[in-house]
């Protein structure tokens, strides 16, 4: 395959992955409305380029630590769609056996370490995973995803310092979607240039257009390669926007419609799709076929998840301590 053909194929794959996430999230809203999903539900619509771009840059044995807004990260990591729906339905076939729900997706087999709903709570754990890989001389990287709000927490600052001090292979990926719940960046950070602040810890740091999946992927590759090669931790500030409310409980009263509309003009899915159409890589028929494939996958996944069983109440106290055989 020529380089340009390979790149075409890669871009198609990026588009497919983003579409899967977008449509998955949209179906989740419907399922929430019909009460099949309960609890907190945080959507990443508008932020798909971050999920897909970062996760595409990782190897199969690298580790991932994420937040409660992690459906996209899990899907892009390869966690089966059915297992994510089942998790949100609280079923035994869920990727956390239904014990976690939307905010706590885990998949040890894919080194997907969740699913942390304490803002910044996963960041120290990511440092430790990288420490374990480094001490065991495994050439692996840990990607740690978190929001702009997390960058105000002590655990963020403690962890960047520790990772930089010990030159650990962590790629810190800050999904700067401009808001922490209803608090805009400038209302909680004295210095809003997060990449600049991260750099003060002595690690390599980049600010990236988080709506451009190719830019995200390329920056993530550079960061991952740097960390893997022993260059120490890296920081990516991925500038993006969530098109929907913070969670299903959020009335979204803290930002203007015009602001949302402005960001929607840079919809990451449409940005890539229209580029591919303009270049003649896909036509409208192909785009429609792609949509149909994704819709079919979602239908199958929902159906399988709905068919799965709930855990028996007798098993309530399992998994508090390990079951040693």
């Amino acid at each position: 395959m020529t380089a340009s053909l390979r790149e075409e194929k890669d871009r198609l794959e990026l588009l497919t992955e983003m579409l899967r996430i977008r449509r998955f999230e949209e179906r989740s809203v419907e399922l929430y409305s019909s009460a099949a999903i309960r609890g907190f539900l945080h959507l990443c619509i508008g932020e798909e380029a971050v999920a897909v771009g970062v996760l595409q840059a990782l190897g199969a044995d690298d580790a991932v630590v994420s937040t409660y807004r992690e459906h996209g990260h899990a899907l892009a990591r390869g966690v089966p769609m059915q297992a994510v729906f089942a998790e949100m339905f609280g079923r035994t076939t869920g990727c956390s056996r239904g014990r976690g729900g939307s905010m706590h997706l885990f998949d040890a087999s894919r080194r997907f370490y969740g699913g942390n709903a304490i803002v910044a709570g996963g960041i120290p754990v990511a440092v430790g995973l990288a420490l374990a890989d480094a001490m065991q001389r495994r050439p692996l990287v840990t990607a740690c995803l978190f929001g702009d709000g997390a960058a105000a927490e002590g655990e963020f600052h403690e962890s960047l310092n520790l990772a930089a001090l010990w030159r650990l292979p962590v790629v810190f990926c800050c999904e700067n979607n401009q808001y922490a719940m209803g608090t805009a960046l400038a209302r909680s950070h004295a210095q809003t240039d997060l990449a600049l602040r991260a750099a003060s810890y002595g690690l390599r740091s980049w600010a990236v257009d988080g709506m451009d999946v190719l830019a995200v992927r390329d920056a993530a590759r550079l960061a991952v390669d740097t960390a893997r090669a022993g260059g120490g931790p890296c920081f990516l500030e991925l500038r993006t926007y969530r098109f929907r409310a913070h969670s299903m409980y959020d009335a979204d009263r803290y930002r203007g419609k015009a602001e949302i509309a402005r960001w929607r003009e840079r919809d990451p899915v449409e940005l890539l799709a229209s580029a591919l159409v303009a270049e003649g890589v896909i036509d409208t028929a192909r785009r429609a076929a792609l949509e149909a494939e994704v819709a079919a996958e979602i239908d199958r996944a929902v159906e399988a998840a709905e068919a799965a069983s709930l855990e028996p109440v007798e098993d309530l106290t399992r998994f508090v301590r390990s079951e040693v055989s």
């Binding site: 956390s96 014990r99 754990v125 390990s322």
Partner: protein, 324 residues
Amino acid sequence: MSTTTYREAFRAGLREALAVDDRVFLMGEDVGRYGGCFAVSQGLLEEFGEQRIRDTPLSESAFVGAGIGAALGGMRPIVEIMTVNFSLLALDQILNNAATLLHMSGGQLGVPVVIRIPTGPGRQLAAQHSHTLEGWYAHIPGLRVVAPATLADARGMLATALIDPDPVLIFEQIALYGASGELADDAGPVDLDHAVVRRPGSDVTLVAYGGSLAPALAAAEELAVDGVSAEVVDLRTLRPLDTETVLESVRRTHRLVVVDNGWRSGSLSAEIAARVAEHALYELDAPVERVCAVEVPIPYPRHLEEAALPGPADVMAAARRAVG
């Protein structure tokens, strides 16, 4: 038998753990170059090197969380938090991650981390360095919480804790580090499941743990002079509690005094009293007595620190009330 100190017993346990398993490493504030805030890890940096004896920045949350991550990544970290009051800065990691990940992940992610936490009063360190918070940690499902109060337990609990596939918190008594005694030359791993009768008796059961074991034993000694036979039970493991050993003793003595360096309200002593009330109320010939820390931040001057804590005289008075 050899004479040794509680501090040396812990160090011997650490040295052995590091020697037998490459996955084991120690990290915390001043554990390396300084030799440990209480000199427990003195010499280990020289012996095992910087990879395995890691001085951390003052970042309790980050290095405890890193211990959790390293455990997930296949290592067997021993994390030292300088003292229990500082552990509160890492409480998020201990409760929301270490104790919770296994359950939240549906059984996928065990966290085999060991966290050593010096604790307790007795050195006039005032109200931010003297508290006994083990009981709080014992409230948390998912953790094992142990309180070595003897040389054998100081020597042997770590090895067993490291075999546990889930998080274990070891609370070491600051006031005991310098205490010396006799330890068997072949002392090794000890069980982490059972309370132990440290002194048999027939008239009253004194339940104690960690820093309250010494005053309980001293009181039992004195009570014996007066013809009162007190049995002393050392809980050893605060979670999961070995209720049966306590009940078995109470069924023989019919009287219970719980001695606890923690504050009375919502304390481990309250838990013990409740369990005895649930399972052996009709065995009791007298109301349960509790001897706890006075509900005040532990003050600096010696006489006030002593007055705030259970001493042998307080335990004796409670035992006499129970015996009648």
